[in-house]
């Protein structure tokens, strides 16, 4: 119970460093633990059944070997890495696994995961591509099936009030994360990109209530401590997720402070609260389909190219303005189509705001990171007017 006493950033670092640890402890204490892939499965339902949701991530520091037989090299390396860890039994404590049809990579990986890494309970959540009325309807029905599957597995019904309670808890978490994001608005930011990443991944590896305590503790610590960070160029990260501090460290030691991330570990899962509706599934389905803003979801094309991009990326303007961004890093994990197709569009969009964009297609490997340093330093020099 050492971890319990240590609070704040240090605890975040510990959990980040030993991701499965807390979940394994809770499992020994009799709690059920579920893994979920990408940010589309509605984990509120898990919480409502007292199940611990653990976000499945990869490891840039671990060469992909065991996955090679099942997922081809031409596939998104993040997905391959996550599955590789699975094959190496690093997620062998799951009582259940929830996959979602977010993108091709996530969907196929989830299927193959369930074929080879068996856990007692599995669900594959189909997520519609559009936000049409029928799509929302269908998505709600999918979530209902998901709920049934969980209830059968646990042998208990989810009471509407329990679900609402869970939603409140997760909304609280979203609010705390946003509050923490607010502390990156000052220059220098009160919390670095690396610290933020450690906190967010920690939060995705422990029960929501513990996560909320952790967030609160971090907020207190960050607001009271002497700010250790120096002012540097303020960077917005857009695109594929970053889930290893080696990468954020590289960026922040090359002349930048990361101040906001529009990624699947950054703002996307946390930016909007779930509305509490009479039938909770209405609020949940609406949130995950309409408010988790990954470009995998098709949003109606406007009458002009401008209207189309505005409809899809308006929120980036807000980020740029309120977080006083100097430049943008478009992070593309090689073979990530969802973001790959958007590169020219997003570049157009940011240039209109007068923000330079550094696009890097990278191979999701710490070994290959150092070669990126020159690119970031040159980008920083560019922003410095050289």
């Amino acid at each position: 119970m050492e971890e319990q006493k240590k609070m704040g950033l240090q605890r975040a670092v510990d959990i980040y460093g030993h991701r499965g640890l807390r979940a394994r402890q809770l499992k020994e204490e009799g709690r059920k633990v579920f893994g979920y892939f990408c940010c589309y499965p509605p984990i509120e339902l898990l919480t409502a059944l007292d199940i611990v949701p653990v976000r499945v991530l990869g490891n840039m520091d671990e060469p992909v070997t065991d996955a090679d037989d099942y997922l081809p090299p031409v596939m998104c390396i993040f997905c391959r890495s996550a599955f590789d860890l699975g094959m190496k039994a690093q997620y062998n404590y799951f009582d259940g696994f929830i996959g979602a049809h977010a993108c091709d990579g996530a969907e196929r990986t989830a299927f193959i995961w369930q074929n080879y890494i068996t856990s007692p309970c599995n669900f594959q959540l189909d997520v519609p591509h559009t936000t049409h009325g029928p799509a929302l309807n269908f998505f709600k029905e999918q979530i209902a099936l998901f709920q049934k599957t969980l209830e059968e597995f646990c042998g208990t019904q989810i009471q509407p009030d329990d679900l609402k309670q869970a939603i409140v808890l997760h909304n609280r978490q979203r609010a705390l994360v946003r509050e923490l994001y607010g502390m990156r608005k000052p220059d220098p930011p009160l919390i670095s990109g690396t610290e933020m990443l450690q906190v967010l991944i920690a939060v995705m590896s422990i029960p929501v209530s513990e996560g909320n305590d952790l967030l609160q503790a971090v907020i207190d610590e960050v607001t009271t401590r002497a700010n250790p960070h120096e002012a540097k160029r303020r960077l917005l990260v857009w695109g594929s997720l970053i889930d290893h501090t080696a990468f954020t460290d590289l960026i922040e030691s090359s002349g930048f402070n990361i101040v906001v991330e529009d990624t699947a570990i950054g703002t996307r899962p946390f930016w909007h609260d779930i509305e509490i509706t009479t039938d909770p599934l209405d609020g949940i389905s609406d949130h995950y389909l309409n408010e988790v803003l990954c470009p995998r979801t098709f949003r109606e094309t406007g009458s002009t190219y401008q209207a189309d991009t505005d409809a899809r990326f308006y929120y980036l303007k807000e980020f740029a303005k309120h977080w006083n961004v100097d430049g943008v890093f478009a992070n593309i994990i090689r073979n990530c189509d969802i973001h790959g197709y958007e590169v020219p569009v997003v570049k157009d969009y940011f240039s209109e705001m007068g923000l330079p964009v550094l696009v890097i297609e990278q191979d999701y490997s710490t070994a290959a990171l150092e070669t990126l340093r020159t690119r970031f330093e040159a980008f920083a020099e560019n922003l410095d007017g050289y």
Binding site: P63, T65, D66, D68, D69, A367, E370, T371
Partner: protein, 256 residues
């Protein structure tokens, strides 16, 4: 029947002559850049004076990059079956092979007839090939066989940042100049190569006894490192450089 088997590789050219199932003559020489010449020399030297001249050879099988330059009638055979059949002939009990060549590394599983049942090779680029070992040996002015005792003294095996075979060479060479102990550099190289090769071996689920051949087999150090990494026994046959030539002869005999 008298059969000749040739394996014209980029670095070495080999030939064997077999009468029924016995090797009556074998030769191995550096290809030295000119395939035509290599083939010519080979066909001249392979013939034991007391017995055949080239015309006594009933059929000839050949594989390898330079096979195209053979100006006698012969049967062109893919490298993989030759390699497998050859190893099977030399080590009948072996069911899996690791070949560390000059351009690529290869892992093969064979059945009790020496036929390929499964195989993997490093493709597209030379990353993971054994070429670096020869290069570094030259730089240090030692023979491949001296690499092992050296590597044994490695204290902190050097880490290499690149995958590209060419850059790996330059990186290793500059380490030498930086005064990093040769032992650590070679140790580091052994680990780098082993990582790639072991990866392939694991994918083919290789276990137990296994043959180690190709130029890389000259370096016992690499062999040991792979052994420990994979926890299996590697056998380096005496005629490991000739395996594919022998296989070519055997297959030619079947087809001829």
């Amino acid at each position: 029947m008298v059969v000749a088997g040739l394996d014209i590789g980029s670095v070495f050219s080999r030939a064997v002559i077999m009468e029924e199932d016995t090797i009556v003559s074998m030769t191995l020489k550096p290809t030295g850049g000119d395939f035509k010449k290599a083939v010519g020399d080979l066909l001249r030297d392979i013939r034991p004076p007391d017995r055949f001249d080239a015309f006594d050879i009933d059929t000839m099988g050949a594989c390898g990059l330079g096979a195209a330059f053979i100006d006698h009638p012969f049967i062109k055979i893919a490298e993989l079956p030759c390699l497998s059949r050859g190893v099977h002939f030399i080590l009948p009990h072996i069911r899996s092979i690791i070949e560390v060549g000059n351009q690529y590394s290869r892992v093969v599983r064979i059945n009790d007839h020496g036929k390929v049942t499964d195989s993997l090779a490093s493709e597209k680029c030379a990353a993971g090939s054994g070429r670096i070992l020869q290069v570094i040996a030259n730089v240090l002015g030692i023979g491949m066989e001296e690499l092992e005792p050296l590597a044994a003294r490695a204290v902190r095996p050097a880490k290499f940042t690149t995958n590209c075979a060419v850059f790996l060479e330059t990186e290793a060479i500059s380490r030498v100049a930086e005064g990093i102990p040769a032992a650590d550099i070679i140790g580091g190289l052994h680990h780098t190569l082993t990582a790639k090769i072991a990866g392939m071996a694991k994918r083919l689920k290789i276990s137990g006894d296994c043959a180690m051949i190709g130029g890389g087999a000259m370096d016992g150090g690499l062999t040991r490192t792979i052994e420990t990494e994979l926890g299996l026994r590697l056998h380096v046959p005496e005629q490991f450089m000739l395996a594919s030539a022998i296989g070519a002869a055997l297959i030619a005999a079947e087809r001829g």
